[in-house]
Amino acid sequence: MRARTALIAAIVVIVVVAAAAFMLAGRGGGGATTATTSPTQTSPAASPGGGQGGKEITLNVGLLVDTSGPTSGVGRPYAMGAEAAFKYFNEKGVYTSDGVRVKLNYIKRDYGYNPTRAQQYYKEFRDQYHVVAIVGWGTADTEQLSSQTAKDKILYISASYSAKLVKQPYNFFPAPDYSTQACAAVTWMAGKKPGATLVLLYDHTVAYSKSPIPAIKAIAEKLGLKVYDVNLPLKASDADAENAIQQAAQYKPDFIWCGNTISSCSRAAKAMAKYGLDAVMVADVWGFDERFPKLTGVPEKIAGKAAGVSPWLWPEGRENQPGYRELYEAAKMLDAKVDLHFMQGFMNVWLLVKAIERTDSKTLMEKKGEALKNALESSCNGDPIKLGDITPEMRYCPGNHLPFKSSYIVVWDGKDFKFEGPITPEGVDCVKVTIEAEK
C-alpha cells in the first residue's frame, strides 16, 4: 500500500513538474541560442553597397514578454509581432551604416507580468547573454529596470509608454507617452464640445491607470472642461462596471475617459449602452483595439459612443502602404494575424533595427548599447526616424525621448473604425505634469 502511495505521489510530482515546465514554455524563443558573447564577429556575409563585405556581427537581444500572465491576451500578439520582426529583418538583412551585416539573435523570456521575474531574466540577459538591447513589455518592470539599464548601458525598447520613461537615458518607444496620448484625447473632446463634462473612469489603485490623470486634469482645466473622478476596478465584472456607470451618470457626462485595459473598458461601455448613458467613451491605447465592439457584446449599440486613442493608424486595410507592407510580409513568415498589438511588437524591433542602421560597426562593437542609444538620439538634430507610414517623423533628444506628440482618435461607427486626427495637444506639457505629480 505504501509503495503504491509513493508511486502515485511520484506521478503527481512528475505531472506538477511537467506542468510547471509547460507554464514556463515561454523560455527559449525561436532565436534563443547558447551564444554567450555579444557582439561577435563572424564571416562571411554579403553586404549592400559593397562596404565591409566579409564581416558579420551577431547581436544578442533580450525579448521580455508576457505570454502567460494577466496581460498575456495582448502580450501574445505583441510577442509574435516582435518575433516576426526578428525573423523578417534577419532574412532581409540588417546592416550598419558602414555596410556590415548584423544578425539579431533574440532570447525570449515570458515573465508572466511579474516584475520580480523580469528582474531575474534581466540579469540572465545581461550576465549570460551580454545583450546590447532588450525589447520589453510592461510599465512596472520597465520602470523598475530603467535605472539599471542606464547603468549597464543596455538599450531598452518597451511596450510601456509611461511618461517617466521619456526622461530615462536608455528607454525608448515609438509613440507618445500615455499622458500625451490622453491629452490628445481631451483636446479632441474639447474640440467636439466646448465646456463639456468629462468623467474619468480608472482604477485609483493602479499606477498605469492613474499616471495620466494629473495631465488630463491640467489640460481639461485649460480647455474649459469639467472633470469628475469615478473608480472602475481594472478587474471589473458587469456589476463593477454598472456600479461605476451609475456613479458617472450622476455627473451627466458628455465624455468618459477609460484609463484601464480593454476588459474593464469594454464592460463599462456595455454598461453605458445598457443604461442608455448618452456619452462618448474614449479609452486609452491598451483599453481599445479591434476586439472592443465584440467584447461589449452589443457592437451596434455602442456605435459612435466608443472610441480609443492610438498613436498610429491601425494596420487593417493598409497592406500596401510603406511600413505596413513590411509588417504584413513579416506576418506571412509566421502565418500570423496582423492586429494592433502585433504591430506594436513589430515596431519596437524595427526601432532597434533603425538604431543599428544609424551606427557604424566599429562604434557598435566598442560601445554596444551606448552606440545604439546615441544612434537614436542622433535624430534629435539630424535625420528623423520614420517607421514607414506607421509613424510620423520621430526625434529622440538626449534627456527627452518623446518622439512625437500626435495621436488619433479611433471611433467605432457600428461597422468600422474611423480615424480622426492626428491631434496634437497644445498648451500643457503633459509629460512634465505627470512626472511632477509622481514625485
Binding site: A9, V12, V15, M23, Q250
Partner: protein, 298 residues
C-alpha cells in the same frame, strides 16, 4: 459626492444579488470537497478557469449553443474533479490536511496549463456569445448575461442543495462525509461516493464558470474571482451547502455598496470591506455562520 437614489439602489442591489449568487455557485466546489475530504481544494480556481475556456471554445470556435457549452464545461469540471480525487486525494487519505492542500496547489498550475492548451490562440480576453436583448423592470435593466448568470448560479446551488438533502445519493454522500468508517460498515461504496463528491464539486465549478464568464468575460486571470468566492464559503461555513447562498449574497452586497458609496474616495474598499466582514465573522464563529463545530479529541 455620489448619491444613493432609489434607482441606483435598485440597480446595485440587483447586481449584488446576481454576483452574490455567482460567488455562492463558485464557492460550492470548496464546500463539497471540504465535506468529504476535510481539506480546501486549491485547484478549484483554475478548474473553473479551465471550464470557462472550454465553454468559450465550444461556444465560439465550435459554434455550439450555450447549453452545449455549459454541458461541456460541467463535463470537463467533473472529469477534473474526479481526477483530483483519484490521483491526489485518495493516495493522501489519512495524511495531515496540509498535504492535500499542498498537492491541490500543484494541481492549480496543472489546470492553468491545461486551460492555456485548450484555449490556444483564444488565451485572451473574450466574451461568451450571448443574445443582445434587454428588458427593463422599473429602474433595473436586465440583459442576457444577467439571466444566464442568475439561472445557472441559482439553479446550481438549488440543485446541489436538493441533491444533498432529498436524494438517496445525497444521503449516502452525507453519510460518507460524516463518518466514512461507519458508512463503509453499512456497505456504502465509500471510495466511489468520495470520487463522486469531487466530480460533483468539479461539475459545479464548470457550471459556475459559465455563470461567472457571463458577468465578467473570459480572461486568463479569471480564477481570482474564485479565490474571492472562498470568502463566501468561509462565511457560510465550509461544510454548509445551502448556507453558502447567504455567504455569497452578503459578500456581493457588501462589495457592491462599499464600492458604490466609497469606491472613489477609498478605492479598493469594497474588497477590503467584504474580507474584513469575513474575518470578523470567523473570529466570532470560527466554523462560519452555518458551519458545524467539530470537537477534536486529543
Amino acid at each position: 459626492m455620489v448619491v444613493l437614489t432609489a434607482q441606483t439602489a435598485a440597480v446595485n442591489t440587483f447586481q449584488a444579488l446576481v454576483m452574490g449568487l455567482v460567488f455562492a455557485a463558485l464557492g460550492l466546489g470548496f464546500n463539497i470537497v471540504y465535506r468529504v475530504s476535510k481539506s480546501i481544494n486549491l485547484a478549484h480556481p483554475t478548474l473553473v478557469l479551465l471550464a470557462a475556456y472550454t465553454a468559450l471554445v465550444v461556444s465560439t470556435r465550435l459554434g455550439a449553443g450555450m447549453a452545449v457549452a455549459v454541458a461541456a464545461a460541467a463535463a470537463v469540471g467533473a472529469a477534473a474533479g474526479a481526477a483530483l480525487e483519484v490521483l491526489i486525494a485518495r493516495p493522501l487519505r489519512g495524511r495531515p490536511p496540509i498535504a492535500l492542500i499542498a498537492a491541490t496547489l500543484g494541481a492549480y498550475y496543472v489546470f492553468k496549463a491545461l486551460a492555456k492548451m485548450i484555449a490556444g490562440d483564444m488565451w485572451t480576453t473574450a466574451s461568451l456569445p450571448l443574445p443582445t436583448f434587454t428588458a427593463r423592470f422599473g429602474p433595473v435593466v436586465v440583459d442576457a448575461s444577467d439571466l444566464l448568470a442568475l439561472g445557472l448560479a441559482g439553479g446550481l446551488v438549488a440543485a446541489v442543495a436538493a441533491l444533498h438533502r432529498y436524494t438517496r445519493l445525497g444521503v449516502a454522500m452525507r453519510a460518507v462525509a460524516e463518518d466514512p468508517y461507519g458508512a463503509a460498515a453499512y456497505g456504502l461504496p465509500v471510495r466511489m461516493l468520495t470520487m463522486l463528491s469531487w466530480a460533483i464539486a468539479g461539475a459545479a465549478g464548470g457550471v459556475a464558470a459559465v455563470a461567472l464568464a457571463a458577468k465578467t468575460g473570459v480572461e486568463p486571470s479569471l480564477e481570482v474571482y474564485v479565490i474571492e468566492a472562498l470568502a463566501a464559503s468561509l462565511l457560510a461555513g465550509l461544510d454548509s451547502i445551502a448556507g453558502i447562498v447567504l455567504g455569497g449574497l452578503v459578500l456581493g452586497l457588501v462589495y457592491q455598496y462599499s464600492n458604490f458609496l466609497l469606491g472613489t474616495i477609498l478605492p479598493g474598499f469594497g474588497e477590503a470591506a467584504a474580507f474584513t466582514l469575513m474575518l470578523f465573522v470567523l473570529l466570532v464563529k470560527p466554523y462560519g455562520i452555518f458551519g458545524t463545530e467539530r470537537i477534536e479529541r486529543v
